[in-house]
Symmetry: D2
Subunit: 366 residues, 4 copies
């Protein structure tokens, strides 16, 4: 049986476009996918940079005007890997042209954009690259929670710490400007933590947040902290910062429940810590599970038990699952709707930081 071709356009040529390119190149090596993926065109502002990226990753053509991509009939899917403020125009145009839309997180630079985008893709296959959802250890955590292995949740606790803000060489890039990024650490880092929290622990009903900027003159948050109440009765703390000196990319969560505890840190992404409080008292202990067994999520897709995965594999798995969901006409998550839920939380965070009090997360349903 011959597979249908899926012609892809990549909008963007920076770091994350490299990561997505790798996913398009690798997805067929590790997943049975219903399409022959064709890396058709890569689009950006700087032609020289595009030529290099195209040559390196095998994009057939380069293009500097994204609007030309939208009007081409030979493009099936548009992948958006550009600064946040540009997401909405491209996504909406692509959706209106009937393209499949893939978008880097955070979905948008404002709640309004996110809402418009979500509406636009309503009848179009769509996804957002919340890559950490497909780390095997994270999927396995979700599975254990769903099976009731930690019982009723009491506490959810997440950190996302990096040290980029303290590095003066980075302060002038788009991620540090409100006009291009919309938010700082909140959009860049906290959005990941919130997405995982909603995925693992359900919706947040209200929160109290603070946003803080350490660098003089910077107009986005360097650090955002919040306390939250979840619909399931548990309570949570979140901390996202670019001034977590000593941490390059420390993304962690812990969940305490009536029957046990789960813990994850991206530094050791192939592991999940599980404490089973139903064991006899003298045998209780946090066990470090190497989530690389055949029986684990994606355990059949990559290497062998005990052979670890790296940063790029969850992107490959995200793409593999998304392509299959399209062909099977099944729902896929995280989609724009899911990312809109994250954006609503970020919006509530801003409202709370301004009002200096608790706010409810309007419009969110459990």
């Amino acid at each position: 049986m011959s597979k249908g071709k899926l012609n892809v356009a990549m909008i963007g040529s920076g770091f994350i476009a490299k990561v997505h390119s790798n996913a398009f190149r690798q997805v067929g090596h590790f997943f049975d996918i219903p399409y022959e993926v064709c890396c058709k065109v890569i689009c950006g502002r700087d032609r020289a940079k595009l030529e290099t990226a195209a040559s390196r990753w095998g994009w057939s053509e380069v293009e500097t005007d994204w609007q030309k991509i939208i009007t081409r009939n030979d493009i099936d899917a548009v992948d958006i890997a550009v600064p946040n403020v540009l997401h909405s125009a491209i996504a909406i145009a692509a959706a209106e042209a009937g393209k499949i839309v893939l978008c880097e997180k955070p979905l948008a630079s404002s709640l309004e954009e996110a809402e418009a985008m979500t509406k636009a893709v309503q009848h179009i296959p769509n996804m957002v690259w919340f890559n950490y959802r497909r780390i095997p250890a994270v999927v396995f955590a979700k599975q254990l929670i769903s099976e009731g292995r930690i019982g009723q949740t009491f506490h959810y606790r997440a950190l996302y710490l990096n040290q980029s803000g303290n590095d003066s060489s980075k302060g002038n890039t788009w991620r540090y400007k409100r006009s291009e990024a919309g938010m700082g650490a909140a959009g860049d880092l906290l959005s990941h933590s919130i997405d995982l929290a909603l995925y693992l622990n359900g919706s947040i009903t209200e929160l109290s947040a603070m946003m803080h900027t350490f660098a003089p003159g910077r107009d986005v948050d360097d650090a955002t902290l919040l306390l939250a109440r979840f619909a399931n009765g548990s309570i949570g703390t979140f901390e996202a910062t670019r001034y977590g000196v000593g941490c390059q990319n420390r993304n962690t969560f812990e969940v305490n429940g009536s029957k046990g505890m789960l813990g994850f840190t991206l530094d050791d992404m192939n592991q999940l810590d599980f404490f089973d409080a139903t064991e006899p008292a003298n045998l209780q202990g946090s066990r470090c599970i190497a989530v690389t067994a055949l029986a684990h999520p994606y355990g059949q897709n990559f290497w062998k038990p005990g052979h670890v995965l790296g940063y790029e594999h969850p992107f490959i798995a995200t793409l593999g699952d998304f392509l299959n969901s399209i062909a099977r006409q099944e729902p896929f998550h995280a989609n724009f709707e899911d990312a809109l839920a994250v954006q609503r939380i970020l919006h509530a965070v801003e409202r709370s930081a301004t009002s200096r009090g608790w706010v409810s997360v309007e419009g969110q349903t459990a």
Copy 2:
């Protein structure tokens, strides 16, 4: 040279009285102290229990009425190891009788009591058993911060998690009742975290907190969470809970600064993690320092390098330092004043939890 005798009365006969008794028995073995400590009398409600404790720990007499202790001329020091609500009456009476006063934390069951107590001991040697201040790793952390080894502080982050609240056998003890304990996790656990934060990172100017009770019918907090601003410009998160299933006694702090990071957890109390961001990029990493060298705090007092300390040693060190401070007429910390500062934070926490907004910590000076 013969030493003066110090006749001690212990008020209390529970777990913490046992820990204090051990400190009185051991202090002379590991510290040069200016007194001959005499364990004179142990006082409590249950005579049989007292007899057992006296026989085990070598208290010469037992007594069931603490007020009789206060009026005895042969008692030099009174150590208070009873439920929180009883602290103030005993401490004030002892101070008025001119006794040296030692008091278990938290200082009191309310801010008003704490203020009265602090006033009462103004001219009397006094201390509060904030034992964690004298863990060698904690003292060493303080030293590194003071030396500027982590630079300007950005973030302070503390957890104190235990799982006692989820254990139905414990719910009926005094620690779970407002009338005896004043507060729940906040007084029991958070007070430790706050004391260490004030010690290590200076005063807190404002905070936003939530208090939550998981168990139906319980009238104290099972968990207290807060966000804080410190006078030095850093921001902090605190979480204290009795529903941290999976954690028996997890007391941690982390500090991120412009030049590095420090991390401590009570589970590994003989270690301090230090990340030095001034090292060359390729040699940076969090180093795990075994704080047992001769050059470390209390490195000459106990065993040899590489020979670890346990839970009781910081109590012994606290007592050793306190006794010397009396003889030398030097200030000692944590004293009632320090513990009052903690109580002010706890009070602000309650106000914030009620008002659902940020509150300033009145009366506190940096």
Copy 3:
């Protein structure tokens, strides 16, 4: 400038052929390489399996007779990924036909084969897939040792533990048969540890070994242990086993020297532990370096600092370095000569296990 084509034939279609295939697919994405790699033909015994592998990984043709590959003029390089006992015939034939030869480890199933193979490739670009040499943390360890950061070496200590032998489902595969594998844990696991030891700590002069088989009727070693003396005056212990229940793929080394210590474990392959004994006593501690900085080996090739690599990346790096070495006519390691040195140690191990005494490693030069 257009690149020359490099037509590759893969001999083998099992797990390791998949890993090599990935390296051929990925090398150009992360390394500047002087060739256009063409995945020409994949060769094995089972045509159906080959078709699947070819389709998945993009091998243009399939072939079931490896000898036909050797005589083709359009094949530039032959990659050998078949059971050990087949390595020598293929490698020698390929070398005689002037092909570039890549060979999976261990080089051969006997010392005699290894010697003949090494002689055969003398004037041919050749390499052996000792992949762990190119883990960034391992390369960085080598760099620190070379810079004298741990001083004179005292101890070298290596473990390679897996639990495959205790899994009855695996006992019938070629790795457990002398006729196909030559050795058991020694060839499969210990060969890796020895290669790293020779790379990091120089040559071994004498050793005392034991080989042990736990499973009744099995004719290869399940576990091999040895003590060793190195030419640099240090002493070593090695343990390789398939009965290390609890360990899926635990490959570790530690080196103690006069100025410090290094430690590595494959489970945390993105980290290197470094203890600097030249620091002040109170600041000494084993620091865990995340070997993902731009300044680290291969730090510019893959992702960003703090973004971890997985099992396959060292294979990609091995291939990238090898292809560049060919074009630049520079030496490449590990080559057949290096693998022969490993084989000599394995041979000495067998002699020692038989003679139950120390043996010198003949023919090895420092």
Copy 4:
């Protein structure tokens, strides 16, 4: 009921005498013991040092001639805490005088001495301070092994690494001289590892060892390494060194069995790692058990769950158990017989290191 007095004489006034003194002072605080322990006299060569020790630890008298102690009728028990070469004369004399004999490890400076000593105490209560046997985590490991929780043992692996040998300030003390210590790292460090191995895994039948001295002119081993076969069919590796730079007191063991794995390190002495291979594949992981629960060994003796012990507590537990064993006329381990078994292994180690081959451990029974 009044307790009988037990008058104790301490022979020695160095570090280990301090540790034993602490045990005598503390034992009654944590154990129900059948005697009133009286610290009667401390004996050594240097009167000034003795006076200090006596005053600090409450020994009633000082004495500089150990032989005078032996002839005193008012001494019930003699505790030997002097350099190894002095153990046998004192122990034999004390036994002949009918004293209870306690002796620091290793039992003696030679096998001959150890045999004579063991014979001498045959009808006398006796013990050797192999303190690590009474770390709760070690006792719990023994319990899990006995319950069959790790099944048939395959591998036993022990390290005892310190860095004292590399510290030139220590090279001139008695521990580095054959005439006073008998052996170097073997007697000092390896003896501990061997005792634990015999306790946990049963007797050793044969071994192959190497002893190495790094320091020029030193006449004892700086490092001793060995491979071993146990009577239960498992195989073992041992490494003891004073040149383990980076490790102050790293005493570890690991056991792999058909059903699981156990791991212990003295650096984290309150923890035991347990891997249960009978769990479902996706839930397997090494769990870190905090061995401080009420249900754990000595869980009722010291503090509360989650409150850690330090270096001295196993000494206290050793003494508590020993005193009870005397009163109950029950066997106690480790006694001289057990320590003699260790000495036989050390002797075999020396024979093997000399003969450069495997030797059987004569006279040892399983």
